[in-house]
Symmetry: C2
Subunit: 483 residues, 2 copies
Amino acid sequence: MKKEERLVTQITPKSEDFSRWYVDVIRRAELADYAPMKGMMVIRPYGYAIWENIQQLLDRRIKASGHVNAYFPLFIPESFLKKEMEHLKGFAPEVAWVTHGGQEELEERLAVRPTSEAIIGAMYSKWIQSWRDLPILINQWANVVRWEKVTRPFLRTTEFLWQEGHTAHATEEEAREETLKILNLYREFIETELAIPVVVGKKTSREKFAGALETYSVEALMSDGRALQMGTSHHLGQHFSRVFNIRFEDSNQNLQYVWQTSWGVSTRLIGAIIMSHGDDSGLRLPPHIAPIQVIIVPISIGRWKETVLPVAVDLERRLMAAKIRVKLDSREEYTPGWKFAEYEMRGVPLRLEIGPKDINQQQVVLVRRDNGEKLTTSMDNLEGKITNLLEEIQKNMFNQALEFQRRNTHDVDNYEDFKKIIEDRRGFIRAWWCGQETCEESIKEETAATIRVIPLEKVKEGKGNCVYCGQLASEYVYFARAY
Amino acid sequence: MKKEERLVTQITPKSEDFSRWYVDVIRRAELADYAPMKGMMVIRPYGYAIWENIQQLLDRRIKASGHVNAYFPLFIPESFLKKEMEHLKGFAPEVAWVTHGGQEELEERLAVRPTSEAIIGAMYSKWIQSWRDLPILINQWANVVRWEKVTRPFLRTTEFLWQEGHTAHATEEEAREETLKILNLYREFIETELAIPVVVGKKTSREKFAGALETYSVEALMSDGRALQMGTSHHLGQHFSRVFNIRFEDSNQNLQYVWQTSWGVSTRLIGAIIMSHGDDSGLRLPPHIAPIQVIIVPISIGRWKETVLPVAVDLERRLMAAKIRVKLDSREEYTPGWKFAEYEMRGVPLRLEIGPKDINQQQVVLVRRDNGEKLTTSMDNLEGKITNLLEEIQKNMFNQALEFQRRNTHDVDNYEDFKKIIEDRRGFIRAWWCGQETCEESIKEETAATIRVIPLEKVKEGKGNCVYCGQLASEYVYFARAY
């Protein structure tokens, strides 16, 4: 598309049609584009730069907690997937199959990995012999493929990028500890860096990962009131170690099966950022992951190229030296007004305007994307002020989202209210649940709401009546319509 | 395998059997392991950490030269590959084909990308309309698949990791400039960071990339006298822009096809590091890419845990603070002697030994992996000394490899000498070549040597006689047996 066509007016208002708004923002901000194959997308440079920032901030945490990265093959023989039947059943409908290599038909077809438990299990059985080899704490950054029927950029695509951690431990206790440690790592990462408040907890049996003993999840509320699963951490028990024969000799020379975990977050996080923070003007990016944190727009009046531009160039250099991700847009073919709208649409957290008048007074104008506030400030120690301001914006965006989540979390004690709220306002509904899958399924059929998590931190003590069947219930859980 | 089994004596001496030595080093140093599928490997954490360092140092250069990263789909429809026939012919025998998604057979089969020119071409035709959209300077870090008959870890595997740059320009001159700019970037990167001296130049038509106008290559001599192609930079001309209809309106409103380049280096670089620098004791890693730059081995005598260990811990902390990648191996179940051999085998550039005597004298013993030198030095400003020493090791490793390359580059003016040298000593052979493909092919058939490059910087001025046919020749080229 031509540069001149990029106008903010071409974004459907969020309040009018959320789905179209979402796709418009992705297209106009050049985060991604549809590939010519069904369900596949291209992550464009601006979107990929967000992913790189996510990777860097998360990878640092994964390594600091003792994990190392590795790389396992893209292809998994069909027979490996078949070893864990629950796992196969869960993924078989979504697998892309390679049947030919060059001109030859393969003896056994190969799955393009939908997730890597099976191939990693096979390798761990080679690498693990003794208790001294444990724990194994490996993570991988990779692409995976799931043949989805209905797709949506970043949220559900045939191919996506993610990290998947796979660990092996000597005891069940250690494996559960690891599962929860990662769940907390995800929560802290998402809240601190993406400025998205989350609820964390356990999935019901119905919603758990194919092959896991227990699945824990990090869930957030998008600004249309639907929930999004942002990351999962699975306690795999011994399901995979038994079928892949991953055993170790313990300190008493007894052979034992290892206990495993796996966990992942994906490019879906970018979808979450768009849907949590975006508004009618487009994206709003939290400073920690914004590819451009500050956009400098020179006010192009009169002899601005001789007066304003050199100062703008100097400010860019100063901010860069202070490790702020800054960009100066000095293009002449666009007006300052057009640039204001453009970078608002692209979600840049802070705009720095500088014109002839400002130069005389040694000041600049700063405009915040999070709340529209405009402030005039002197050029002295601008680096320090902007660094602090970016942190303030980061915190404010988190608080705005937290406020939204609180306003849209409803405690409900009867099914009529449940149905009405889900229909009218959506959001999280918290209610008692008896633990029976039949109730869970009926609610899903009748309202399209699912149990997102059984929260780790109890919201209510004691017992109550199941919101569906009325029987005595001890779990107070989060429901929502979800992506 | 059990930790106790890891003994350096299990590495086949390099002089005895280079191929077995190579595979032994990879296995013993835990760089990679064979996956249970033919031709596929797992990159283990120690090998992957080398790749991460390579990525970081190269990505910084790619970005500093104005490129941005993006991500394109793994799958390419067969019809897209077919558009550029030369390209298809080059890659068809190596393509893995996806024919089924879930339970359904696909209408059109999908290639698992062997390289991404075709899919990127399709996207560029959407993104490029005007001269203002140019140049497009995009790079991607990705996995690719080529169905190879004969494989060898890191050098030739069914799947490998790489970066592939894809650029589009308004003029042929700009595209050629980009091709050469990247060639020089690769040269500088490989020589500076991997400590491997290279020769750079143009490939002959016979050896160029399927679909390129011209291919330029960076070639190095491995320590067995065979050459390895370390990276390539292709001037694609308008081959792909014509078939994918990538056109732009120039400033005179005329529609023009863009000029393109593509370029890449892969995990093959790790193979080059092993084969350039390794010796009978195992790996030797250049400090810039070594996952562990300094290994601290406490001498475990007497009450070492009370006397030596606290000092070792403190030294580790100090070196870490100075951004040196340091590790303290304080395990009790292994002797210092075992650790010396172990980390030598793993190629750690510098060993720091510290025992009770050293503590009394406030000194440590440093042992260099590049030349075995042992030096005793005081603990004052150890950070600064080690930082300098690591730089010295980096330079010395480059010089050692350069010396080897010089000793093994032979200027030859007759075919008898050519054949004798290739048979006895291998190495680079420089000789006149008439430019005819028939001579090139006969030489290859008779000696297994190929033209590695027509060097960019002329080695000899004027003309001479083709080393094969004796006719007048104006190209003085590099031959070698290659991987």
